[in-house]
C-alpha cells in the first residue's frame, strides 16, 4: 500500500510538472512583481536609457499585454492574445519595424486575474523588469483604469483596444489611448436603435461587477433620453448556479426589450434557462460587448437559440466595408476563432502600433505618445487595420476619433450587421419571435 501511495504521489507530481512546463511554453508565465523602484522618475529614466541603448539591437521590441489569463474571464483574455499574436506574426513575417533596423515585435503577457491589484503589480513587472515600450489591454475597465495610472507615471504609452469605460480617457492622461468606442457611446446608440424599431419599455439586467454597473449606468442614462420607460433595473450574481429568479423578475415586468449584460458562461446559461422557462421579451434582447459576441456563445447554444439576439460592438465580420470579409476569413483560418468581440480591435490596434513605431522611429515613450497625439494615419499598401478604420487619429484625451458603434443581430448563427444603415447588410428581424414561434 505504501508503494501504491508513493507511486500515486509521484505520478501526480510528474503530471503537475509536465502541465507547468507545457503551459509556460505557451505563454510568458506571469509572476509577482518585486522590482519596485524607489522613485518613478528614476525608473522612467532608466527605462528610457535602456530603450535608447538597445534601439538598434537585434532583440525583439517588447510590447506588454495585460489580460485576465486565469479566472472566469480567462477565455476572453486568451481570445485577445490570439488577436495580438496573429498581428505580431504577420508584422514580423513582413520584416518587423523597418525604421528600427527591421527589429521584430514580441508580446510579453501579464495575468491581471481580473483584479486591479494583480493588474497593477503585473504592469509594474512588465515595465520595470521586462522593459516593454508600450502596454496594451486590459479587457476589464476596472483593471485598465488603475493600471494606466501606473504606466502613465512611467511615461509608457498604453493603447487600450478592449476595455470600454469612458473614464479611461476622460482623465486626460497623456500616455493613455483608447481605440474602442466608450460604453456610453454604445448604450446611447443601442437606445436609439431599439426606439427606432418601435420599442418603448425596457428592463435592464446586469451582473454585479464593475462592467455590469457601468453598463447599467449608461443604459439608465441614455434609455430615458431616447424616450424609453424603464420598468426595472436589476443586478444578478455573476456565475450564479441559477438564474430563474432573475428571469422571473424580468418576466413579471413584461418589457418590450431586455437590455442584458453577461460574460460568456452566464450568457449561455441565461439563454438556456430562459428557453427552459419558455420566456422571451416582447420584442428583443439587446446587449453590448460581453459574452454574447464571444464565438463560443453561438457554438454552445446553437444557431436556433441565438437567433435574434442583438449584439453591440465596434465591428462585425460581415459589415459593408472593403476587406472585412477577407480579413475575417483569413483570421479564422489562422487562429480557429472569428475575430469578433473586440478581438478585431485588438488585432487592428497591434497593426496600428506597428505603423506608429515606423512613424515615431523611436522606442522612447514620450516620442511614441507624441506621434499618437499628432498624427493622422492613413492606410498604405502594407496597412492591415483598414478593414475597421478608414483612417486613424486621436482626440486630445486619447480617444480614437473613428471608433464607432456597430449593431448586429444573430441570424442563422452569424452576427449580421443591421445598424448603422451605411454598414448594414441585412434588415433586422423585429420583433424577435419567442421560443415557440421558431
Amino acid at each position: 500500500m505504501k508503494l501504491l501511495a508513493k507511486l500515486l504521489a509521484w505520478t501526480l507530481l510528474c503530471s503537475l510538472l509536465a502541465a507547468g512546463c507545457a503551459s509556460s511554453g505557451l505563454s510568458e508565465t506571469p509572476s509577482a512583481s518585486t522590482n519596485n523602484p524607489d522613485s518613478s522618475t528614476s525608473a522612467a529614466l532608466q527605462s528610457s536609457i535602456d530603450s535608447q541603448a538597445t534601439i538598434y539591437s537585434d532583440d525583439p521590441i517588447k510590447i506588454g499585454g495585460l489580460y485576465p489569463l486565469s479566472g472566469t474571464d480567462a477565455i476572453n483574455g486568451e481570445n485577445m492574445q490570439k488577436g495580438h499574436d496573429q498581428a505580431i506574426k504577420e508584422i514580423n513575417a513582413q520584416g518587423g519595424v523597418e525604421c528600427l533596423g527591421g527589429r521584430p515585435l514580441q508580446m510579453v503577457y501579464g495575468d491581471s486575474q481580473g483584479t486591479a491589484e494583480a493588474g497593477i503589480s503585473e504592469t509594474e513587472r512588465l515595465i520595470n523588469r521586462e522593459h516593454v515600450v508600450v502596454m496594451m489591454g486590459a479587457y476589464h475597465s476596472s483593471v485598465t483604469i488603475p493600471a494606466t495610472v501606473t504606466s502613465n507615471k512611467y511615461k509608457i504609452p498604453w493603447i487600450d483596444p478592449n476595455a470600454l469605460a469612458a473614464e479611461i480617457t476622460s482623465r486626460d492622461l497623456y500616455y493613455v489611448f483608447m481605440t474602442t468606442p466608450t460604453l456610453e457611446q454604445w448604450a446611447h446608440d443601442d437606445a436609439r436603435f431599439a426606439y427606432q424599431m418601435g420599442a418603448r419599455t425596457a428592463v435592464i439586467m446586469v451582473p454585479n461587477f464593475a462592467f455590469g454597473t457601468e453598463g447599467a449606468q449608461a443604459w439608465n442614462e441614455h434609455l430615458p433620453e431616447e424616450g424609453f420607460t424603464i420598468l426595472g433595473s436589476y443586478d444578478y450574481q455573476f456565475g450564479a448556479a441559477d438564474f430563474s429568479s432573475a428571469i422571473l423578475q424580468v418576466k413579471s415586468k413584461d418589457p418590450d426589450v431586455l437590455f442584458l449584460l453577461a460574460n460568456t458562461t452566464d450568457a449561455i446559461h441565461f439563454t438556456q434557462q430562459m428557453k427552459s422557462m419558455n420566456y422571451y421579451p416582447r420584442m428583443a434582447i439587446v446587449n453590448l460587448g460581453g459574452g454574447f459576441t464571444n464565438p463560443n456563445y453561438v457554438l454552445s447554444v446553437g444557431a436556433a437559440d441565438a437567433e435574434g439576439i442583438i449584439v453591440t460592438s465596434d465591428w462585425f465580420p460581415n459589415e459593408n466595408l472593403p476587406g472585412t470579409v477577407e480579413f475575417a476569413r483569413s483570421f479564422q483560418e489562422e487562429t480557429g476563432i472569428l475575430p469578433t468581440g473586440l478581438v478585431n480591435t485588438t488585432y487592428a490596434s497591434t497593426w496600428l502600433l506597428h505603423d506608429v513605431l515606423e512613424k515615431a522611429c523611436s522606442l522612447d515613450g514620450t516620442v511614441i505618445a507624441d506621434t499618437l497625439h499628432n498624427t493622422t494615419f492613413t492606410p498604405g499598401p502594407d496597412t492591415r487595420w483598414d478593414f475597421q478604420w478608414s483612417q486613424v487619429s486621436f482626440e486630445a484625451n486619447g480617444q480614437l476619433k473613428q471608433a464607432q458603434t456597430v449593431i448586429a443581430q444573430y441570424q442563422d448563427g452569424n452576427q449580421v450587421t443591421v445598424y448603422p444603415s451605411e454598414l448594414a447588410v441585412e434588415e433586422p428581424i423585429w420583433p424577435v419571435p419567442g421560443w415557440e414561434g421558431r
Binding site: 500515486l8 472566469t72 454585479n208 443586478d235 430563474s244 422557462m277
Partner: protein, 309 residues
C-alpha cells in the same frame, strides 16, 4: 369563531398572494425546490465523508467538475446519454476517489486537520489546473435533446433535467439510508463512524472502509455532476460555484447527516429563489453564506442534533 378567524386568515393570505402574484410565487418556490434538490445531491457526498472520516473534503467541487467532464466527453465522443453514463461515471470516480484516499489522505488522517485541509486544497487546485490545461477554460455545453423538455403545463414549468436531478437526490438519500442501515459494508461504515478504534478491535479493516466511504462520497458527487451537465455550462472552475453552497448546506443540515443535507439543500434553494426574486438576484450568493455564518454562530451543530450515519 375560530372558523371565522380562519376564513379571514385564508382570505388575507390569498389577497397577499394575489398582490405578490400567486403564479409567480409558486413558480419561484418550485424553482427553489428544484435547485435545492441539486444542492442536496451535491452535498450528500460531502456530508457522508465528513460523518465517517471527519475529513472536510475541500476538493469536493472538483469531483463534481470531473463528473461533468466525464458526462460531456462520454456524450461527445461515444454518444452515450448522460443518464446512461451514470453507472460508468460513478464507478470511475469511485475508483479514483478510493485511490486518492488510500494514497494521499490516509497518510495525513491522524495528523492535524490543517494538513488535511491544505492537502485537499492542493488536490483541488491540481485538478482545476489539469482540467484547464487539457480542456481549456471556455464553457462547454452538452447539446442535450431533453434540455428544454418541460413537465407540467400552464403557468407551472418543471424543467425535465432539473426534475430528474431532484428525483435522483431523494432516491440517493434513501438508497444511502438503506445501504448504511442494512448492508454489511454499510454497517462497517457506521461502526467506523462511531468509533474508529473500537471498529478496528472488532476486526473491521478501517482503511478499506475509509476508501469505500471516500469513493462513495465522491462517486455520488460525480453523479450530481453528470446530471448537472445536462443543463449547466461546464468549465474547469465550475466546482467553486457549487462547493461553497454545499458547505453551507452541510453545516445547516448538521455535518454528517445526509437526510439533514437533503432538507438543508431544499431550504437554501428556496431561500435563494425567494431572496433572488423579492429582494435582488444579487442576493443569491449572499443568502447561502448568511445562513452558513448564522448557523456557525448560533447553532454550530446544525438543525439536527445527531448525525445520521
Amino acid at each position: 369563531m375560530s372558523d371565522a378567524v380562519f376564513q379571514v386568515g385564508v382570505k388575507a393570505f390569498i389577497n397577499l398572494m394575489n398582490i405578490m402574484g400567486l403564479e409567480t410565487f409558486i413558480q419561484v418556490i418550485v424553482n427553489g425546490l428544484l435547485m435545492g434538490g441539486i444542492y442536496a445531491l451535491i452535498s450528500a457526498g460531502l456530508t457522508l465523508i465528513y460523518g465517517v472520516m471527519y475529513v472536510f473534503n475541500f476538493a469536493h467541487g472538483e469531483f463534481l467538475m470531473m463528473g461533468m467532464f466525464l458526462a460531456y466527453w462520454g456524450y461527445i465522443l461515444f454518444d452515450i446519454s448522460p443518464f446512461l453514463a451514470l453507472p460508468g461515471v460513478f464507478t470511475l470516480i469511485f475508483l479514483f476517489g478510493a485511490l486518492i484516499q488510500a494514497g494521499l489522505i490516509h497518510p495525513v488522517l491522524k495528523t492535524k486537520p490543517l494538513r488535511q485541509i491544505l492537502l485537499l486544497l492542493g488536490v483541488s487546485t491540481l485538478l482545476t489546473g489539469l482540467a484547464s490545461f487539457f480542456f481549456g477554460t471556455e464553457p462547454r455545453t452538452l447539446d442535450f435533446p431533453l434540455l428544454y423538455k418541460n413537465l407540467g403545463t400552464g403557468f407551472l414549468v418543471l424543467n425535465l433535467p432539473r426534475t430528474v436531478a431532484f428525483g435522483a437526490s431523494i432516491f440517493i438519500a434513501l438508497a444511502l439510508f438503506f445501504f448504511l442501515k442494512y448492508s454489511k459494508a454499510g454497517k462497517a461504515i457506521r461502526a467506523c463512524s462511531q468509533s474508529r478504534d473500537a471498529a478496528r478491535l472488532m476486526g473491521i479493516n478501517v482503511r478499506r472502509v475509509y476508501s469505500l466511504t471516500f469513493g462513495l462520497g465522491v462517486g455520488i458527487t460525480a453523479i450530481a455532476g453528470t446530471l448537472l451537465a445536462t443543463f449547466y455550462p461546464i468549465t474547469p472552475t465550475v466546482g467553486e460555484t457549487f462547493a461553497i453552497t454545499a458547505f453551507a448546506v452541510v453545516a445547516l443540515g448538521t455535518m454528517g447527516n445526509f437526510i439533514g443535507a437533503l432538507i438543508g439543500g431544499l431550504i437554501i434553494g428556496v431561500a435563494e429563489a425567494l431572496g433572488g426574486f423579492y429582494i435582488s438576484a444579487v442576493t443569491q450568493g449572499v443568502v447561502a453564506m448568511s445562513i452558513f455564518i448564522l448557523i456557525l454562530l448560533f447553532k454550530p451543530e446544525g438543525l439536527f442534533t445527531k448525525k445520521n450515519i
